[in-house]
Symmetry: C2
Subunit: 344 residues, 2 copies
Amino acid sequence: MVSESLFLRACRREAVERAPVWMMRQAGRYLPEYREMRQRADFLTMCRTPELAAEVTLQPIRRFGMDAAVIFSDILIPLEPLGFAVVFGEKGPTIAQPVRKPADVPTSVPENFDERVSYVYQTIEMVGDELPAEVPVIGFVGAPFTLASYLIEGGGSKSFAETKRFFYHQPEAAHRLLGLLADTVARHLRNQVRAGARAVQVFDSWAGVLSEAEYRVWALPYAQRVLAELAQERVPRILFTLNAAHLYGALAEADAEVLGIDWRTPMGQAFDLLGDRFALQGNLDPTVLLGQPEQVVTETHKVLAGVGSRVGHIMNLGHGVLPSTPIANVEAFVQAVRDFTGED
Amino acid sequence: MVSESLFLRACRREAVERAPVWMMRQAGRYLPEYREMRQRADFLTMCRTPELAAEVTLQPIRRFGMDAAVIFSDILIPLEPLGFAVVFGEKGPTIAQPVRKPADVPTSVPENFDERVSYVYQTIEMVGDELPAEVPVIGFVGAPFTLASYLIEGGGSKSFAETKRFFYHQPEAAHRLLGLLADTVARHLRNQVRAGARAVQVFDSWAGVLSEAEYRVWALPYAQRVLAELAQERVPRILFTLNAAHLYGALAEADAEVLGIDWRTPMGQAFDLLGDRFALQGNLDPTVLLGQPEQVVTETHKVLAGVGSRVGHIMNLGHGVLPSTPIANVEAFVQAVRDFTGED
């Protein structure tokens, strides 16, 4: 019998003694011990080498004692087995051969998919062996819309013009691509759970660029398909969407236990809108961790005070921790969560 | 007596026979006649040469018969007289010497400010001479927060990390910078009105990156100062904010006649929230103009149907027209507004 973690209990909206805390991208560039390892191996090599990826995953747990360990990986990892090489450069990922016409859409998930990304599953196994039972491993991946936008744009974007052009001109191929990505992503998450992930997070990071009407056509149905396929695995399913204040009506229908909320919506307001059905994760503005430690404490306590006595809150940032974040501010953040009594 | 335009009447929330229509960035790169001129002069030279800027301003009016003529200029134009050279490159504007410490904040608006950007005012005068009375000229500029973010980041940004770091560590200098920008921007807009602009638009394009609490500290008060200083000019004041669904509570307090709404919020919903106090401008998703002409017509009519019989709607895109937009789709957009009867 695995002893139950704060994090998993909060995901199930059980009463907990304090909010569990972790940070999106906590295994990564803001850590000096990570940067030191990166001098000897590039990003993708580190992802693909379970010993290195497991070590990086454990670094923030050792240093800060987070309540959950998100694996060191990337939301785009499942794209390579589908035939798209991703280059992770200084200015973000790029895809040399983007999807621009229907013939560019792969026809099926390759049979050897599991093998091609088995390093992720091995990483999870290794991390699971090292972690105390009360610190669960979180697996993750990008949602179909977000992955499709990278595939079609050939990288990140501001306007998502190519993605929407493809959707409008090639709707059939677009739906085929999104369906294939849903199958791929569901498979990747299921494999992560079977390797030991005790929660999964789906990042639909860029879906906030869509109006609710478009979101209901191009993003939500495919995120739902992924989430539904994971239901039988019986681990908490977290859906994170950046910049989604206009999408809460649709997100209220998500087949998930937890919704990730970015910093734009006060957490109390998010609970009023969504807290009767979901645990909510978030939402300190990651740029607050670039401020003074006292500001970190004040703003962290504001988030927690906004939640008040409501159940089902997982403390996190509103987006990934920024590479330029000082360690002292991460310490202040974690400590502020531990110290919070609701009386300041 | 200047005959009254559809656009100005809609700004004042008077009943009009149909919604007036124009497009943010309608004078620009999607037009072949603009691209042809750009082969002989770079972007800044075109901005600074009234004959060229006036010609480009008039191009979309001649081709499509828009109901208002926004001048060809840039939201960053007032930065150069403040001592910041802006380079307009393929990947957006960059500022070689960004603001990174309090000493980098200029102490005052230079006395020769008007002279240094007089080309903008001359452009407006030239355009005013050419336009029929029912097509007013719109002047514009960036809002203090948005300009400050360019100055501090040294260009565009995704995370606005440097801007927020500066705000958190140097709040006094940050407020000084924002105050100076408010004075600068108000002066630039007032000069545009006196040169003949019959409406002004303030672009707080990036303020949507802030939570409402931060918006009320770093953006709204300075946009308000600009808007308030323009009140005596008695022209409609338009405040545009991208990605602002979480800020409508604060935007409801704006000292403006018109709010620009991006494509994320259905126009009917925006009218329910804000339409009792403001005329509203928007909001076809600019990427729809990359689709098929029939989709353009359908989606344009959807926006208009969402507004219904309410007064004070100015049809526009939800953000600037994209450079890759086909001319035929702009024609379809404008024609769809003209043809709309509310019965399809």
